[in-house]
Symmetry: C2
């Protein structure tokens, strides 16, 4: 089986965790999904799937095609937990289809808010590469399907915030030092004035867990894709530099070193782990590894990523093959965590 | 170097940690130490030391003779932390002498509250053995020295609570399950009616740390040594049975198992450890080991005992050879703990 992109240990960067490019497209001769019943959605999906299969004829075995209407609830939410589909798409069911590459680096949602949402995911900061790949997929589909496009506005989308390029580029960053120092608050203000948004990836508001943040472009109209990506790239690199600078001051504190080490100890031994604690521990592990704290310890370089990707409640339910009580889930989560930590 | 008695791994029992027998004796023709100046104390000590050296002529190299007046404060308190001398004796200084066997199983304090306090320490529940040894030492000294003895009252001591046998027998017990269930409270009431006292070994009152308790006889007058020891032995065995019974209910709880395992993880990794936390962690480790929780893990069987014996503030100061800040001490304690945990 092909390794998932997020398990590629070597690609881990200290601050930038992953990159996502999304392009929103709609067929010219069909109403937006919101206005379609499930039979009409199925017709749209079949049209896109036909186009996809012709366009990707030589690579079709690299992909799974998933009928969301036939997927069990926990399997659908497991896709959300691994950030492969949106919450809304998982909930929509009937008429939704997912084209998912076996390495999970390409995820194309059919009949989400728009007819076609092409997503490309990559580890670290790879905006240009991911955009190039998304663009290729877009071109290949475009050769078989006619997308709704206006010469003045650009690509037409259900929601006006996507109008134009239909592009959303986002980068997941690990900012524990900026969270600890409080500079994350100022960051959110600054970047929003530049047309970007920052939000915590786990937990909300003051409850942000582990210092994981996602930064994305907001502007899609009156800007080229390349400009949007260049701007985001510039801002992200500045944030990375700030975080790395603040880490130097953070990591020399004995209390912080102690926290990193204890997190390693708990990850290796705990028998019960909540989702929130696992995110915190994974954050401490990632920070400790990035800062060279764990001298002499063998730790799978992809462990921090796996700790989060493989321990969501729905993912654990799928793994166990049955409904779990909260307590059983915490037990299975701890077991999964230990097997990740001992997989040296 | 001869191994200290408390490092003898094999002797560890699940509940009974250690036994102590103490005999209080005074020379017939001298006032109690409280009434002596340091020169007079020295005269008493020299008399006893002469008697000891003659009596133990063939085994004299098994002992160290320590002039407490010449001992640095932290070295004296390190003896208290390892329960080899009393707090009062460590503080008294000038005129106090300690005869300490190299394996730390025999500790004879000269000019504590009484002229001679013979102490014998042993791992687990060994009241009879320890009493036999204390009695032998007493007989050997008695052959060379004349102890104050009244045919009706028995041995004369400074404090009336020791009058008669001069015997205090005590057993250190690990009662985490009875502490958790609250039955320790009832225990204290019951045993006090039988003439015994129970007190927490670390921390006071509701702050008792780790469930370590010491139970001792109170009655020394109108009772034979053998009876006092038999009574204590009976009570201790009952407490041990209760604790073992309550452990069966405690240890099946997943939260408790989780706590044992996390304690193991933290002991192996922490970079800062307070004294209180170390006692708690050592307690969890001991309980987990006694209940067979840590399957597949290599842990030095004497680790729980060493974790407490070697991490007191004065003991760490002696180890480092200089005054330590609280922070330095927590760092050195964590380092000492890790070396104990990795000493497989």
């Amino acid at each position: 089986m092909k390794e998932k992109w997020y398990n590629e240990a070597a690609a881990n960067e200290p601050v930038a965790i992953s990159t996502r490019i999304r392009l929103a497209r709609n067929l010219k001769d069909a109403a937006f999904p919101r206005l379609l019943d499930s039979i009409q959605k199925r017709e749209v999906a079949e049209k896109v799937l036909d186009g996809f299969k012709t366009a990707f004829a030589e690579r079709v075995d690299e992909f799974d095609i998933i009928d969301m209407g036939k997927l069990k609830e926990e399997a659908a939410y497991s896709l959300v937990e691994r950030r492969l589909v949106s919450q809304e798409f998982a909930a929509a069911g009937e008429g939704g289809f997912l084209i998912l590459s076996k390495d999970h680096s390409v995820s194309i949602m059919l009949n989400e808010e728009d007819h076609v949402r092409i997503q490309v995911l990559a580890s670290g900061l790879q905006l240009e590469n991911a955009y190039t790949m998304a663009n290729q997929i877009d071109d290949m589909l475009n050769a078989r399907l006619e997308f709704a496009y206006d010469a003045r506005l650009g690509y037409l989308t259900e929601c006006p915030t996507n109008l134009g390029t239909g592009l959303r580029a986002s980068v997941m960053l690990h900012l524990p030092a900026m969270l600890a120092s409080g500079s994350v608050g100022r960051l959110a203000e600054t970047v929003s004035r530049l047309g970007f948004t920052v939000r915590g990836a786990y937990g909300e508001g003051s409850e942000v867990r582990g210092g994981f943040f996602q930064i994305s472009n907001q502007i899609t109209l009156g800007i080229s894709e390349t400009n949007a990506i260049d701007n985001l790239s510039t801002v992200v690199k500045q944030i990375i530099a700030t975080e790395e600078d603040e880490r130097k001051r953070l990591i020399v504190q004995p209390e912080v070193q102690d926290r990193m080490w204890r997190s390693l100890g708990v990850l290796r031994t705990a028998r019960l782990l909540s989702g929130d604690e696992t995110v915190e521990l994974a954050s401490n592990l990632r920070l400790g590894m990035a800062c060279g704290v764990f001298k002499g310890e063998k730790i799978d370089p992809s462990a921090p990523g796996k700790l989060i990707a493989l321990t969501g409640p729905a993912t654990l339910t799928v793994q166990s093959g049955r409904k779990l009580s909260a307590h059983e889930r915490d037990t299975l989560r701890a077991q999964t965590v230990r097997s990740i930590m001992n997989d040296k």
